[in-house]
Symmetry: C2
Subunit: 314 residues, 2 copies
């Protein structure tokens, strides 16, 4: 029997699903509301309903990308900033109750799914090992070593947003100081603009969520303060990338997420700083590439999580 | 036929060798001068002679740990601070010429060998994944993921000494600023003492190589300035460990090398800082352990490099 794999990406707004074949061809897809802001119970109901909608498809395995920290050891969602009232929620058990089938389910962090998606079907195609950095609300990451997702002993690997780049720096939501996420993320951009006297005035009244895009427009209009903020953003991203490359010696780094839309405003400084900080050998042949799949990376990656979770066809 | 594996650790002063059985039992060992300070040609002669001395042993494979950056892709020793006149030396080819046998040779960085040694026969026994940090002249590292040494795409992984912990900090020998090696290593301790008005005076006249040990003695005698330096050392080590743990989610970190002799002077601060900076999930069950094999870790690790290089017995 030809196997089919269902991948689901849980987002703050939508649930997105795709079905792929053994060869990776997309056979079908779907989308529905996640209602994540209404809390985890509502989300679980929507998710179970969404999965049941694919029941006619004879799915061999399901992969799910979740926007939070998932504890593989005991199946709990430790935290998920975008799902209301979620802390140590027994995700795996609740899902199993909700869908009531014996289809195997494999769960990964959404940034890891995005990494796997770009690795197999996007900017990382053809590479051996890769790190993907997702510049969204926070600074997410996924690590692929020798073709396989490295999730860590309990599934917590890839928390690259909490790489310290300044031990006495800004306070991070995790409680520590100077995590790279406090310099290179949407949250960081918003804070930096608020704290900047001149830009704070220029962007006063801009809706909070639109600030990064407005800051990019200002930089494109040659506003010097805005350019300087993107330069610092790029430099700090380069510090983070060099840390990952010096530790892992991967030759491909893919950068995606919403803020990668400002690519040309920061990438020059990123390359400069990476060049400065990577040891010679590790830097040789290093390619820093922009992600190409957009929102599809996560859902495709979830399909691959299902496939690799099940292993080779027997 | 029962297989035997020869491991050799190239040190600044000595070449050390051990032979292990398939099961890991030590069947023999040897030691000779490396004369590394006399340059790479002399070292290669000594190494070839040393290996030939084991010729009667019917060795299945040889593993070699080298104190420098080895480029697996083209077999060159990119740099080795403790071997005179070594830059981009064609190590693999020269060794093959020198020993003239068909025995397979596998080469790894010495810090990676030490990690493998501690993992299989020392403080890391029983763990799944592990990072080892070697606090010697510099700050070395080796990474074991799911039981296998992770060397990177070209063999340059584990350069953890060049993790940036302060982008505008002290200048490192690599040319960048603020690498952890400039804060947590013998070289760092010597620099910090030299720059410290009070301790600089107290330790004036102390032989350069004895400074870290003298600084430890002063701290044990309750010298407040010395205690403060070891505290900072421990804190900075904790920053480095937290970066590794947040990226990799390994549950075992082993710390070895000469400076680990000052363990009780820094480990408290290291644990405190690691606790502060590791994300909850990644920190759970994390064990930071002192290496137990001393100089044996590198040579035993080299034996295991030989064994794993050759693969399973057929």
């Amino acid at each position: 029997m030809k196997r089919k794999f269902l991948g689901i990406d849980i987002g703050g707004t939508n649930l997105r699903g795709k079905i792929i074949s053994e060869k990776g061809d997309v056979l079908g897809e779907g989308k529905t509301r996640s209602d994540a802001h209404m809390g985890i119970s509502r989300l679980m109901e929507n998710l179970a309903g969404f999965i049941k909608g694919f029941a006619g498809e004879e799915i061999s395995a399901i992969g799910i990308g979740i926007p939070g920290v998932f504890d593989r050891r005991n199946g709990t969602l430790v935290q998920a900033p975008n799902i209301a009232n979620t802390k140590n929620f027994p995700f795996a058990a609740a899902l199993s109750d909700g869908i009531g089938t014996a289809t195997p389910v494999f769960i990964e962090n959404d940034a890891s799914c995005a990494a796997l998606g770009e690795y197999l079907a996007g900017a990382g195609r053809g590479s051996d090992s890769m790190v993907m950095i997702t510049l969204g609300t926070g600074f997410g990451g996924g690590i692929i070593l020798d073709g396989r997702l490295w999730s860590g002993e309990d599934g917590f690997a890839g928390e690259v947003g909490h790489i310290t780049i300044d031990p006495s720096g800004s306070l991070c939501s995790c409680g520590a100081r100077g995590c790279i996420e406090t310099y290179v993320s949407q949250v960081a951009i918003k804070r930096i603009v608020r704290e900047h006297t001149e830009l704070g005035k220029k962007l006063a009244g801009t809706e909070e969520s639109a600030i990064p895009e407005r800051l990019a427009e200002l930089a494109r209009e040659k506003d010097r303060a805005a350019i300087s903020i993107w330069n610092d953003f790029g430099t700090n991203l380069g510090v983070g990338i060099s840390i990952l490359v010096n530790i892992l010696d991967v030759k491909t780094v893919v950068v995606g997420g919403g803020l990668s839309g400002a690519w040309e405003l920061f990438i020059g400084k990123t390359l400069e700083e990476t060049e400065r900080r990577c040891l010679g050998g590790a830097a040789r042949g290093l390619r820093i590439k922009r992600a190409v799949l957009g929102d599809d990376s996560g859902v495709l990656g979830a399909c691959y999580v299902a496939k690799s979770g099940l292993g080779e066809s027997s």
